[in-house]
């Protein structure tokens, strides 16, 4: 073998060795490439997630608060829901399964104050990134997502694994940490309020006394009314005028003053001086006396019936005092005059 041939063989051997060394080096580098991701990651501290609602299956907000362990600039971060806190991540059924999440606001203290965008490309994981961020995180970080679908199961614990990355492809982890969260059942509290109408008459008989041409017979009855009806109530009365056999004392068909020595029968619901009878409405309710029956010393009675008091809204109790007056003249036939007046309260629910 010539020297040239020997040198050629030597060169060939060297090339082979160099190639082998290169391959080994490349293999080593490719293997080691995984380790910085794992080895350098530290745990985020003071971490928590606050859910806007714990109701299973609904869309709500997720606010993450944590403190980054390292000062490396973060270019992306992920919040992945898993059924376990560690080990292989099994996605939580329902969580962000359509991933329509949005950023509630630009995160705080994550680095740059702006430029962060949500990344909805991965189902079951909330992500955001900022390719151009070169500012290191400071203090406590806050990241909020909206429109995040909760896990489907009720009263179920799940875990969200937090990871920050130094690249914008969620590859090279900086810090990691896990928080636990739980859905919960909703409590429906219910109570029923029934329709109510309180209507009581304090009297069943009103004696107007012995009538004369020089005095007015007078008397009162009282009624209490309340309701929770939405448009309140109305109280109607009806009845004949004072009657004794075939004889009657005519009713006052319009508000009229009491005049002795004339035939009159009438009522109102206020305090009067002529004669001195009756009281104004009392109580905390909002009921009022109807027109025609709300003027002092003016009396009226319509046998066919008419509304004498009402309320337009739900009302607490009011006490109405009905004043009755009767006058006679000299030809009024003797006898015991009477009438039965019926009051009807109608609530409007």
């Amino acid at each position: 073998m010539t020297n040239g041939a020997k040198q050629h063989m030597l060169k060939t051997k060297n090339v082979v060795h160099l190639k082998r060394a290169t391959y080994i080096l490349l293999a080593a580098i490719s293997v080691l490439a995984y380790f910085p991701t794992v080895v350098s990651a530290s745990q985020v501290t003071n971490r928590k997630v606050t859910m806007g609602s714990s109701v299973a299956g609904i869309n709500t907000t997720y606010q993450f608060i944590f403190t980054a362990a390292q000062s490396t600039a973060i270019k992306s971060a992920s919040f992945t829901a898993c059924t376990t806190a560690s080990g292989t991540c099994t996605p939580v059924v329902g969580f962000a399964d359509l991933n329509t999440s949005t950023l509630t606001a630009q995160p705080t203290n994550l680095g740059s104050a702006s430029g962060w965008t949500v990344d909805v490309s991965t189902v079951g994981s909330l992500r955001l990134k900022n390719t151009s961020n070169s500012t290191a995180p400071t203090g406590s970080q806050t990241v909020g997502f909206s429109n995040v679908k909760n896990p489907t199961a009720t009263n179920s614990t799940f875990f969200i694994r937090i990871a920050t990355f130094s690249d914008d492809t969620y590859t090279t982890a900086i810090d990691t940490g896990t928080v636990a969260a739980s859905t919960a059942g909703q409590i429906t509290v219910m109570a029923s309020v029934d329709e109510a109408l309180t209507f009581t008459l304090a009297n069943t008989a009103v004696d107007l006394g012995k009538l004369s041409i020089s005095s007015t017979g007078a008397g009162t009855s009282a009624m209490t009314v309340a309701t929770n009806a939405s448009t309140g109530y109305s109280v109607n009365y009806s009845g004949s005028t004072l009657t004794s056999g075939l004889n009657t004392i005519p009713a006052l068909s319009s508000p009229t003053a009491s005049v002795q020595n004339s035939k009159q029968f009438g009522i109102n619901l206020v305090s009067n001086t002529t004669p001195a009878v009756g009281s104004n409405v009392s109580g905390t309710g909002s009921g009022t006396v109807a027109t025609g029956y709300n003027t002092a010393n003016q009396f009226k009675f319509i046998p066919a019936g008419e509304v004498i008091a009402s309320a337009s809204v739900p009302t607490n109790s009011n006490v109405f005092t009905t004043s009755y007056i009767a006058n006679i003249d000299g030809v009024t036939a003797a006898g015991a005059y009477s009438t039965v007046v019926t009051y009807v309260a109608t609530a409007n629910f």
Binding site: A226, T227, N228
Partner: protein, 357 residues
Amino acid sequence: MKIIENHKSKLRSIVYVLTASLIGLSPFISISQASAAQITARSVVLSTSVGDTSGVTYTLNTAALPTSTAVKSLEIKFCSSLTGACTTPAGFLASSSTLSSQPTGLGSASGWTVNAATPGSLRILNASNSTVPSGVVTVVWGGVHNPTATNATFYGVITTYSDSAWTTAIDSGTVALSTSAQIQVALTVDETLTFCTGTSITGEDCATVAGNIVNLGKGSTTATATGTSVMAASTNGSTGYSVTVNGTTLTSGSNTIAALSTGGASTVNNQQFGLNLASANTTPVIGSAKTGTGTASAATNYGTNNTFRFATGETVASASGPTNANKFTIGYIANINGITPPGLYSTILTYVATANF
């Protein structure tokens, strides 16, 4: 020829004399062999069996030595094997050995010193000792470096000597020793938050939660409507957890029963809706004390007997550190007045637990 015969004769004589001498000395030879007795009840205790570890303590324990000869030196020679020549176990080193305390059972109670000149042996000596050994023997060396190999057996040959140069053996014995691997026991404790709400929970076990409707019954102007729900929570979060209540007051269409948003007593014939987690309400009688071994408690505004409150988003219970489970009973009250519109009033309350890790 004669000269040769004379030499042969002399040689025979020498052989005879030598033979006779050997025969005569034979009793003494057998006595010398009989005195190198075996040391009994012997052991060497290592303070750690981890391979390649420095600063290890080796403690020799034996029964009382069988000899009545004063011991002036003692040695434990360490070997990889008991067959063939002694090879020091790789990594074993006695060069930094010390005598932790004066030995017992070797004679004199003092005057013993260590000799670290031989890396493969632990040695002590006391040239002036003339006291016959008695009682159990204990010798403690410190500063020994264990053999490198893990889970490897090695041997120690114990010998006592009547001189201080480890030459004239008295008694001996062998012990076997071994290094061993360390067992690393590891356990991962993940973050936890267990939380559930319902109308019944057995104990504090969220697996048993059931129900979600609290029916307060019929409102009345003369009596307070009441009901309860329950919730249980636990976490290993470093700063515990908090639970908020979220929702509206009792509502029926456009009608509502006003919530006790700043807290207050239950008063009939007033429109009121509220809740608390207090232990012993009496007006009305509703709710019950929390259960469980946890450290959580009701929030201040929701933990006072006979004071009810409801404001959405407020914290109703919390724990400030990791806590076992507690079950809270939430008492609800509703009052109406005369103008409370009729209807079925309801609200859906959502309790949200947040653990702080």
